[in-house]
């Protein structure tokens, strides 16, 4: 099992009478973790509890073995946070903003300035680093926020909707950057998003949050594996007969976008499908083992909350 950086158990956070996180339990392991959930699911609240902005009204949360409520400064020193909303300082250039953020994190002034230049180069704003951040385009602002989150070399970077407002090229670039941070630089990332494709591209672990609770979590590869053997099947003709035969023999069948998904009965092997086809007087044209998509996992997880 990979090292756990952040762990929360029965975490409850309220905004007045409204429960934003309801006994949520989960962990962020080293590497890239996707925090998936629809809008208002509690993703940002979880990040804010992790940063020590919000005190839990129940349960506990720990980062690096420390409680953010008890040692918020120590926790924030080791975390980089890229908020969803605009976050820049008026009248400062990108290099000034990033250097200032480094200093606020405890870096000496000269080291902070040097790192500001480096991370701005890294995120691809090297040529534009002397421009005021408020004059940047949305994509450049997102990159500047990423540079600000990275300047003090955190152990884990919390990215709240980092591809929001970006055009397809900008989005690809941002996802490349995030992937690079994880694979080449060895930082851990929590990618908070409602865009499944973004998460699938970058993350090896996911947590699905909905209605303030964690609905499912684990390695993407593990979650994609199905608990029964499902196959994607296309037959030559008379599909209805085939499906009726499958069901008569104790199998299960579901319609898919362009083919049927067939589940074998317990103990059956793939030849069982051929037997069903022969019995129904048709031929198999296409057969492959089915796998859940992230969308399936997400929909299944969030439908529990509905």
């Amino acid at each position: 099992m990979t090292e756990t950086l952040v762990q929360f158990e029965a975490l409850t956070v309220r905004y007045g009478s409204r429960v934003a996180l309801d006994a949520a339990s989960g962990r962020f392991a080293r590497g890239a973790t996707g925090l998936l959930g629809p809008n208002g699911a509690g993703k940002t609240t979880l990040l804010k509890a992790l940063l020590g902005f919000l005190a839990p009204s129940g349960g506990r949360i720990e980062a690096f073995g420390l409680s953010p409520s008890v040692s918020p400064l120590e926790v924030r020193r080791r975390i980089g946070y890229m908020p969803e909303v605009d976050a820049h300082l008026p009248d400062l250039t990108a290099v000034q903003t990033v250097a200032f953020a480094g200093e606020l994190s405890g870096l000496p002034q000269s080291e902070s300035m040097r790192r500001a230049h480096e991370v701005l180069q890294f995120v691809g704003l090297g040529e534009e680093r002397y421009r005021k951040v408020e004059t940047y385009s949305t994509g450049m602002k997102q990159k500047a926020k990423l540079a600000t989150a990275l300047v003090h070399d955190p152990e884990i970077v919390l990215l709240d909707e980092p591809t929001n407002g970006l055009d397809p090229a900008g989005r690809e670039e941002m996802l490349h950057l995030i992937g690079d941070i994880v694979t080449l630089r060895g930082l851990s990332v929590v990618l908070c998003s409602h865009l499944l494709r973004d998460v699938e591209k970058v993350c090896e672990n996911i947590l699905v949050i909905s209605g303030g609770a964690i609905r499912t979590q684990g390695r993407v590869e593990e979650l994609k594996k199905l608990d029964r053997d499902w196959y994607v099947v296309r037959v030559k003709a008379d599909t209805d007969n085939f499906i009726a035969e499958v069901r008569r023999r104790g199998g299960e069948a579901q319609t898919g976008p362009d083919a049927w998904r067939v589940a074998l009965p317990q103990g059956a092997t793939v030849s069982w499908i051929f037997d069903a086809a022969t019995a129904s007087g048709t031929q198999i044209r296409h057969l492959r083992k089915a796998e859940d998509t992230l969308e399936d996992i997400f929909l299944r997880a969030t439908s529990h909350a509905a």
Binding site: Y15, K48, L51, F53, L54, P72, L73, E74, R76, R77, R78, I79, Y81, P83, V85, D86, A87, H88, L89, P90, D91, L92, T97, F100, A101, E103, L104, S105, G106, L107, Q109, R115, E118, V119, Q121, F122, V123, G124, G126, E134, T148, L150, H152, D153, E172, E173, H176, L177, D180, I181, L184, R185, G186
Partner: protein
């Protein structure tokens, strides 16, 4: 811009972990002051705020040349009190100029999140903003007052050279603090309440002028010396009169200085409380 560019850049991991800074407010104060000094209007306000110092020094020099003039313009505690009290309008102008945007701009641009997601406490943030204003307002109150004292002492050693007059120094410092601290509290609160710095500045002036108007109305209606407690300016002035032991003005003559001081202390504490509540609320809601 192609994504391949990214991979050519390097990102260096730090060899050691960064220790937590002890004075975490210092970068905030330094950066804020650096930004203010970049504005000519700010420097102009400071320069104009120093003109009375030179005027008073000329006055002191004049009395050394013509000692009989001291009967009309004596070099005593009142000279310094009058000087400090006259700096008040400049101080208010400086407060509105330098302070109205300090928190309002951070709220407007989301800069507050940039601060608060760092290893900083709310008190560090407020202290950093406070220091910017403290340094700015000291430029037109405390520092000119001290310079005036030192200049006058060197120009008229026969009058101010004795040890007893050294007490003027703590008096100047004390009155400066009485003027500066509640003012900083009020302008920061206004800045935290309004996202637009202009509204924050206007609100600040409205409160200052409004409380003075309220004092005038209360005085006309009741003739009570306690009417002065309604005015921030009157309270400051009354405490200043008490510190310098000068004759009070008619409207504040019977107002107990302790009460005036209490009002100012409560105002400063109230402002700090509102700041903590307001800045935290934004942190949670966003």
């Amino acid at each position: 811009m192609s994504s391949s560019q990214i991979y050519e850049q390097h990102y260096r991991r730090l060899d050691a972990s960064i220790p937590l800074r002890a004075q975490r407010w210092i970068p905030i104060a330094r950066e804020g002051l650096k930004a203010l000094v970049g504005f000519r209007a700010f420097l102009g306000l400071i320069a104009i705020g120093w003109l009375p110092v030179f005027g008073r020094l000329v006055q002191v020099y004049f009395t050394t040349r013509f000692p009989e003039a001291r009967r009309v313009v004596p070099v005593d505690d009142k000279l310094f009190f009058d000087f400090m009290a006259m700096q008040l309008p400049w101080m208010l102008l400086m407060s509105a100029y330098a302070g109205a945007g300090l928190i309002a701009n951070d709220m407007r641009t989301g800069g507050l999140l940039l601060y608060l997601s760092r290893p900083l406490t709310l008190v560090d943030y407020i202290l950093g903003k406070f220091s910017i204003l403290f340094a700015s307002l000291s430029m037109v109150t405390l520092i000119p007052g001290v310079v005036l004292f030192l200049g006058a002492r060197s120009l008229a050693p026969d009058v101010l050279g004795d040890a007893a007059h050294l007490l003027l120094l703590p008096k100047i410092i004390g009155f400066s603090l009485v003027m500066i601290l509640p003012t900083i509290g009020l302008v920061l609160v206004m800045s935290a309440l309004a996202r637009n710095p202009r509204f924050a500045g206007l609100g600040f002036f409205f409160v200052f002028v409004g409380t003075t108007v309220a004092q005038g109305i209360a005085w006309q209606a009741t003739r009570s010396p306690y009417a002065g407690l309604a005015s921030i300016q009157a309270c400051m002035r009354r405490v200043g009169e008490w510190i310098f032991q000068v004759k009070p003005t008619r409207m504040t003559a019977a107002l107990p200085a302790e009460w005036a001081l209490l009002v100012l202390v409560l105002l400063a504490l109230g402002c700090f409380y509102v700041l903590k509540t307001r800045v935290r609320a934004v942190e949670v809601v966003k």
